[in-house]
């Protein structure tokens, strides 16, 4: 299949000898927005973490673009070199850094030249509708604001793939609507590929995304 950003074949993940995920095959086209639906413990988050390289695969292969990043239990490419941004549940912001420092740190760590960083921070904050939040610390932000900062952080290195691990879970209905809207807009503007984990089917509808269901570590509708 051409134009695929993610190609996963026969992927299996075992933790402490117990099969948590797979065998699983999945293909996602470049710029596509895919929602992974499933109950708690179904293996959704494990799949995201395995694609990101944060969880070691036991067998099978993962190809991102033209590069095989994981094959037969061997991690060929380190997580930071896979071109992936990740939005964690509850943001996982660094408590000791202001919004600006968080973004500057991420830009610096991902090799963006120093001269460009300040401009990129402004751009990113404007993209997530948080201009003027530069000096704020995570403790002073609402849940929705935290997720927006985390989204800006995930997008900072201009990733080719954005992984979203139940990003709307802890938010109230109004904030969910707002963030869904922002995600749709940003996806349209920036054209990244997204794999979004949720247990709420209405989120997939609002985002206009292709939906896949995962249960007991297996995809129920492969490549639908």
């Amino acid at each position: 299949m051409t134009g695929c950003l993610i190609e996963i074949h026969d992927l299996e993940v075992s933790i402490d000898g117990k099969l948590i995920l797979g065998p699983l095959d999945l293909e996602v086209k470049a710029t596509e927005y895919v929602c992974l639906l499933g109950h708690s413990g179904s293996g959704k988050s494990t799949l995201l973490r395995t694609i990101a390289g944060l969880q070691k695969a036991t067998s099978g292969s993962i190809k991102l673009g033209s590069e095989v990043v994981s094959e037969s239990g061997r991690e060929r490419v380190a997580p930071e070199q896979r071109g992936i941004g990740m939005l964690f549940q509850e943001g996982a912001l660094w408590p000791h850094m202001s919004v600006e420092k968080t973004l500057l740190f991420t830009l610096g760590a991902s090799g963006v030249p120093k001269a460009e960083r300040a401009g990129r921070v402004t751009e990113l904050l404007s993209a997530v509708h948080l201009p003027g939040f530069e000096k704020r610390k995570p403790a002073t932000l609402s849940g929705g604001e935290c997720q927006r900062v985390a989204l800006a952080r995930a997008l900072a290195p201009k990733p080719r793939l954005l992984l979203l691990d139940e990003p709307l879970g802890p938010l109230d209905t109004a904030m969910r609507e707002e963030l869904c809207q922002s995600l749709s807009e940003l996806h349209e503007q920036l054209g990244f590929t997204a794999l979004h984990v949720t247990h709420d089917p209405s989120e997939a509808e609002r985002l206009g995304a292709r939906s896949l269901r995962i249960e007991n570590g297996r995809l129920l509708e492969p490549n639908a």
Binding site: A52, E80, F88, W94, A109, P157
Partner: protein, 545 residues
């Protein structure tokens, strides 16, 4: 609660208060003389050097054993605590014969070896409490270097708390500088000055006056500990905490293991090995002369023999047997001569630890739950004073308070030793249990109050069972420190009948196999409660909140 305050006041504060009131203006004049200032500078240099070394070794050690896949992390971590639990004198007395290092460098290295676990322990705990998702976000941005850059500022407060404690321990230590002075050039520090002012002139005023700068130095180091503790330096947990996985070191696994192993070898394994060697009469049994005699080659008088490897192999079976026999008799002698001292140490330390658990629970809870914030902070500050003062000073204060005709019987009894240990170490219990109380939701007690439970019932039926892990940790902490307490016990006659005092006297007056065997027995007795807890409870001690 009032009873707890009274006991702490009598044991920990009264001896210091009495000392403060005995200062005369004439005593204060001596503080600013050149000799005192040079001693102060020397003590400050010692404290800062020890703290810096403890930080440089402890922080990476803590990170490696707590958060990485360094081989053997599960056993490197507990063994890394042994140097802190052993009396610092043991490290000095076992290393001194192995090296020519003397004077200030020796004191700095021995004390850094004994205190680095403070930094390692606190750093390890802080590293473990970083949320996995925060770490993964940094890892995706820039790999291991980004993870370390993000985590260091979060862990630094905890590591600095350990460093401040290492500083306070070092500037107040009397035994190591005293021992270093006994085997090489004199290395006077401030704690010596306090001791000699008392011993030579019996002037409590002069002793306390000379200790004032040391108390100021210790408070200078300990006040940041309280401030950092308030800022949550010990914990970065939140309600949705996800435990981080161990970081893969890749090609750095072996060098990392070698670093950790070298640290514990130098600070725990070599000292214990050296003591075992001494207890078995190793230096005597394996002398060139003894080997030559065993092989029947008696060299002409005045000539020395060179022992070959072949000769060593030849005498190995006979000498090993001889060493085994020496070892058994050394331990037998140690038990025979010092049985009552060992029993005193064990019983008095256990009694002090038990009392400190009750005191710590009541006063620690009061500090955290006091209606007035100022009252809580004041109580906390006062509870810090015995730790900030040199142990020698507490010992002198105890003599001044209790060495009178009406209290003579108590002064001579084991109860005096128990009270001395309570005064010296209740601070640890109070700080540990106030931290533990802070991590306990007040709603538990509020629910108890609404259901009609009174304060005592809430304390012993709700708070105490919830803090069981911290109470056990407190008991072990106070027990360990009481077992190894030397500085204050040196002065109070009743506390002279302990195993560590026997060892101290032994190393100064005719060190032999028996002293090494007794030291090993003492170290074993110190480590025993922690070992038993680790083996049977299979649960980590909750020293930190």
């Amino acid at each position: 609660m009032i009873l707890a305050l009274v006991v702490f006041g009598i044991a920990g504060l009264a001896p210091l208060a009495v000392m403060f009131t005995s200062i005369t203006p004439a005593d204060l004049v001596g503080i600013a003389d050149d000799r005192t200032l040079s001693l102060l500078l020397r003590t400050l240099t010692l404290g800062l050097s020890v703290a810096a070394l403890a930080f440089v070794v402890g922080l990476p050690f803590g990170w490696l054993v707590a958060r990485t896949d360094v081989p053997g992390a599960s056993w490197l971590r507990p063994i890394g605590l042994i140097p802190l639990l052993m009396p610092s004198l043991v490290l000095a007395m076992s290393w001194a014969p192995l090296t020519d290092l003397r004077g200030a460098p020796a004191a700095i290295l021995f004390l850094a070896g004994a205190t680095f676990p403070l930094v390692a322990l606190l750093s390890a705990r802080a590293f473990e409490r970083l949320d996995a998702r925060r770490e993964e976000a940094a890892r995706l941005a820039g790999g291991l270097p980004a993870v370390l850059r993000m985590e260091l500022p979060l862990v630094l407060p905890a590591a600095l708390v350990g460093t401040c404690l290492a500083f306070a321990f070092a500037v107040n230590d009397f035994a190591v500088p005293d021992y270093v002075s006994s085997v090489g050039p004199k290395f006077n520090v401030y704690a010596d000055e306090v001791f000699f002012n008392w011993r030579d002139f019996e002037q409590p005023g002069a002793a306390i006056a000379s200790a004032l700068p040391l108390i100021a130095l210790s408070l200078f180091a300990l006040l940041p500990v309280l401030a950092l503790r308030r800022k949550g330096a010990f914990a970065t947990l939140d309600s949705h905490f996800v435990t981080p996985a161990r970081l893969a070191l890749g090609k750095w696994r072996l060098p990392a293991f070698l670093f950790c192993f070298s640290v514990i070898a130098l600070t725990a394994l070599v000292p214990l090995g050296r003591l075992a060697w001494e207890a078995s009469g190793g230096p005597r049994v394996w002398s060139d002369t003894a080997i030559a005699a065993e092989l029947g080659h008696t060299p002409p008088e005045g000539e020395t023999t060179q022992t070959s490897i072949g000769a060593l192999i030849q005498v190995l079976p006979a000498f090993a047997e001889q060493q085994w026999s020496n070892l058994r008799s050394a331990f037998g002698l140690a038990l025979e001569r010092s049985r009552s001292d060992l029993r005193n140490s064990l019983v008095w330390s256990a009694e002090a630890a038990l009392a400190c658990c009750v005191l710590g629970l009541l006063l620690g809870h009061a500090i955290e739950r006091a209606r007035s914030r100022i009252l809580g902070r004041t109580l906390e500050l006062f509870s810090l004073l015995p730790l900030a003062s040199p142990a020698i000073l507490l010992g002198i204060g105890t003599i001044v308070v209790w060495n009178h005709a009406p209290t003579a019987d108590f002064y001579e009894s084991g109860g005096m030793s128990v009270l001395l240990f309570i005064g010296r170490f209740a601070t640890f219990a109070i700080l540990v249990l106030s931290g533990a109380t802070a991590s306990l939701s007040p709603t538990l007690e509020e629910a108890g109050a609404l259901s009609g439970a009174g304060p005592a019932r809430r304390m012993f039926s709700i708070v105490a069972p919830s803090l069981r892990g911290s109470l056990v940790a407190c008991f072990i902490l106070v027990f360990v420190f009481s077992m190894r307490e030397l500085d204050a016990a040196l002065l109070v006659p009743a506390a002279n009948k302990t195993a560590i005092l026997r060892v101290f006297n032994g190393v100064h007056f005719g060190r032999d196999d028996y002293v090494a065997a007794l030291t090993l027995l003492l170290v074993f007795a110190i480590l025993l409660p922690g070992l038993l807890w680790t083996i049977f409870a299979r649960k980590r001690l909750e020293i930190l909140p």
